[in-house]
């Protein structure tokens, strides 16, 4: 019989056979390569009972308008049953510039929340149970030290001990510089140094904090494959560990707090296999390559998010279906924390209704489908195990490729990685234009009538004005001599190669702005322009 397609491929390009059998797993050793959940190499999951003991955390990435409005949003999300916060910063904050920068006016509060000083962090978390719901600070590497310091000082001022504070800072170099244009950046090599300084300091001062969450979600949005996504993600972690080795740090302590964050796209089984391969591959890197002995180091703990780039503006309700499948793949892949997107992502920031639907999508999966009763339910499937092995093998090759080019700092500075991204997005677009890749409602099955129109959320157009007024007030009332001393200290410590965090903490306590802190580094190192050439 004639098949519906001439050839069948996975998203990463592996030819797929009509059926898989034990013959496809001939080289696989159950005990060594798969094993039990909670046991090395963790292919089947990090914990013996998985979701029977603890459901994944429902953690939406959110924030917009002003810190005060975001506080209301977080309170609401918490009431709906969300048990973790994840801060979406606006574009100026991501770049490390202040809300009163003349270039920032239209972007303050537009795609995230602005944070200029400690006061904004205090306003954003006012009254929220930060000891019960852990926060993920989704900040780029240059802004991470100051933004996390603001969170830490806020927590201290509320009486929490940093030694018991739980949460995460993204602090990933490649996601910071590899997927969104950020103005006024300094070169990756300097940002790498700050990232390692930050981790080193947190290990001592905030030992329960996760000072890095290696994040491939954002660059995966440029249509690289699942293999490339996993390869770059782990190559980034390897590059960080290599830096730690240069500093002669204790690798058990350095690697232990690592967490990861990935996208979840449409190729259902391949995405599940990717998560399983990630755990096995990370185990071999942490245990075999780096010789760590603390089992926490061997565990690939990850958050996953449904893929925004798979959502369409056309017939936006279809995205609810895409999101549900993707979130199901996250759960079958053993995620520790999941964000289900808003179905209106292609149009605007989520409305209240779409936010509710994304929380409900996860709750229905957790409480109605009964998929949580057994660990790794797809383990042992000939297809899944074969695919897990394929992804692991090819991701390993891609890690070697990046390492042969000098690691992630080099591939950013040389521009090689941007060429990979450009190629991926162009190839993908060609496949959509040719119809090789079907997008329902866009290049196939198009509606001849008007589709459902989703309501559009609008940002607070006054956010820049409000933030600027707050900044003026802070600048008027703060102790300018204390501030000046703090910034001078930061300059001196940075130039001398000391750890930047103690002076960043003092600068934040002196009500330095995010921009003032980053400007110290810009003045020392000059600006670096992302080498992106279409």
């Amino acid at each position: 019989m004639k098949e519906t397609k001439e050839k069948f491929f996975s998203g990463a390009g592996f030819p797929i056979k009509p059926v898989y059998t034990p013959d496809d797993l001939a080289r696989l050793d159950y005990g060594k390569d798969i094993g039990l959940p909670g046991e090395p190499p963790f292919t089947r999951g990090l914990y013996p009972n998985m979701y029977r003991d603890k459901l994944w955390t429902i953690r939406r990435y959110s924030g917009f308008g002003t810190p005060e409005e975001t506080n209301q949003l977080y309170r609401h999300e918490y009431e709906l049953g969300q048990n973790g916060f994840s801060i979406a910063f606006d574009a100026p904050t991501e770049a490390g510039i202040d809300s009163d920068d003349p270039r920032a006016a239209a972007d303050v509060g537009a795609t995230g929340v602005p944070v200029d000083t400690l006061l904004d962090m205090e306003a954003m978390f006012d009254g929220l149970p930060i000891d019960k719901a852990a926060t993920a600070i989704i900040s780029q590497t240059m802004a991470s030290p100051a933004l996390t310091a603001m969170y830490f000082v806020m927590a201290e001022n509320r009486g929490f001990d940093l030694r018991t504070l739980n949460g995460t800072t993204q602090n990933d170099l490649v996601t910071s510089l590899g997927c969104l244009y950020l103005v006024d950046q300094i070169a990756p090599r300097h940002q790498m140094r700050f990232a390692i300084d930050f981790i080193e300091w947190c290990i001592e001062a905030a030992p329960r904090w996760h000072p890095v969450s290696f994040d491939s979600y954002n660059y995966r949005e440029q249509e690289i494959s699942a293999v490339q996504e996993l390869g770059i993600l782990l190559a980034t972690a390897v590059s960080y560990v290599e830096e730690a080795k240069k500093r002669k740090l204790d690798l058990n302590r350095f690697i232990r707090p690592f967490t990861f964050d990935m996208g979840c796209h449409n190729d259902f089984f391949e995405e599940i296999a990717k998560f399983r391969a990630a755990r096995r591959l990370w185990y071999s890197i942490a245990k075999e390559r780096y010789g760590t002995t603390d089992p926490k180091c061997w565990q690939f703990r990850f958050h996953a998010q449904s893929a925004g780039c798979t959502h369409t503006t056309q017939e936006p309700l279809n995205n609810l279906v895409r999101i549900a499948y993707q979130v199901l793949a996250c759960a079958l892949g053993g995620a520790q924390s999941v964000h289900a997107n808003g179905f209106d992502e292609g149009l605007c920031l989520p409305t209240e209704d779409s936010m509710l639907l994304s929380i409900r999508t996860e709750q229905i999966l957790q409480h109605e489908t009964n998929i949580t009763s057994t660990a790794d339910p797809l383990g042992g499937s000939y297809y899944i195990e074969w695919l897990t092995g394929k992804i692991e093998e090819k991701a390993c090759e891609y890690i070697r490729e990046i390492e042969s080019r000098g690691g992630v700092v080099e591939v950013l500075e040389s521009g090689w990685i941007y060429t990979e991204f450009l190629k991926a997005m162009t190839d993908h677009q060609k496949k959509i234009e040719s119809g090789e890749k079907v997008v329902v409602g866009v290049n196939s099955f198009r509606l001849s009538r008007e589709s459902y129109k989703a309501p559009v959320s609008r940002p607070n157009l006054k956010a820049a004005e409000i933030q600027t007024a707050k900044l003026n007030e802070v600048k008027r009332t703060r102790d300018s001599r204390r501030l000046e001393r703090a910034l001078q200290k930061l300059r001196a410590v940075t130039a001398d190669g000391g750890n930047i965090m103690p002076p960043v903490m003092e600068a934040v306590r002196s009500y330095a702005t995010l921009g003032e802190i980053c400007n110290v580094w810009r003045e020392l190192y000059g600006l670096w322009r992302i080498p992106l050439r279409p």
Binding site: A91, R103, G346, M425, V439
Partner: protein, 134 residues
């Protein structure tokens, strides 16, 4: 330069960094034989200056943040201040349909939303370049 292969400045006004859309469209226009000046993120003033210096026929603006109304109208104002009304402004990105009529009144020639086929975008630039302008 062929009249149907115009020169285009591609830019992102403001600080929103989402670059996939502008990159893919820039490469498609270049593959179609047009001369593309890639500006990336710029202020509205910088866009108008670059448009004048490069003597382009089109300015393509890509916006994926809700600041689009303000940033597009500031860019149009900056072009007008330099007496560059002859430059055709085309916008793309996550711009709600309900905003399109107002953008057209302000002077935007065309808005391409997410998922617009590249061949439609290329064809629009070609056809508009051939039309006599006043």
């Amino acid at each position: 330069m062929q009249p149907n292969n115009p020169k285009v400045l591609m830019a992102k006004p403001g600080l929103d960094g989402h670059w996939r859309g502008i990159l893919v469209v820039s490469m498609a226009l270049r593959d179609a034989g047009m001369e593309v000046v890639y500006g990336g993120n710029m202020t509205p003033q910088e866009i108008a200056e670059a448009a004048a210096q490069e003597d382009v026929q089109f300015v393509g603006l890509s916006l994926l943040s809700p600041g689009h109304m303000r940033l597009i109208s500031e860019t149009l104002d900056a072009l007008r201040e330099r007496a560059m009304e002859h430059v055709m402004v085309v916008a793309g990105g996550t711009i709600p349909e309900e905003d399109v009529p107002r953008l057209k009144t302000l002077g935007v020639a065309k808005v391409f939303g997410p998922g617009s086929p590249l061949e439609d975008i290329v064809a629009f630039f070609r056809q508009s370049a051939c039309q006599p302008r006043d």
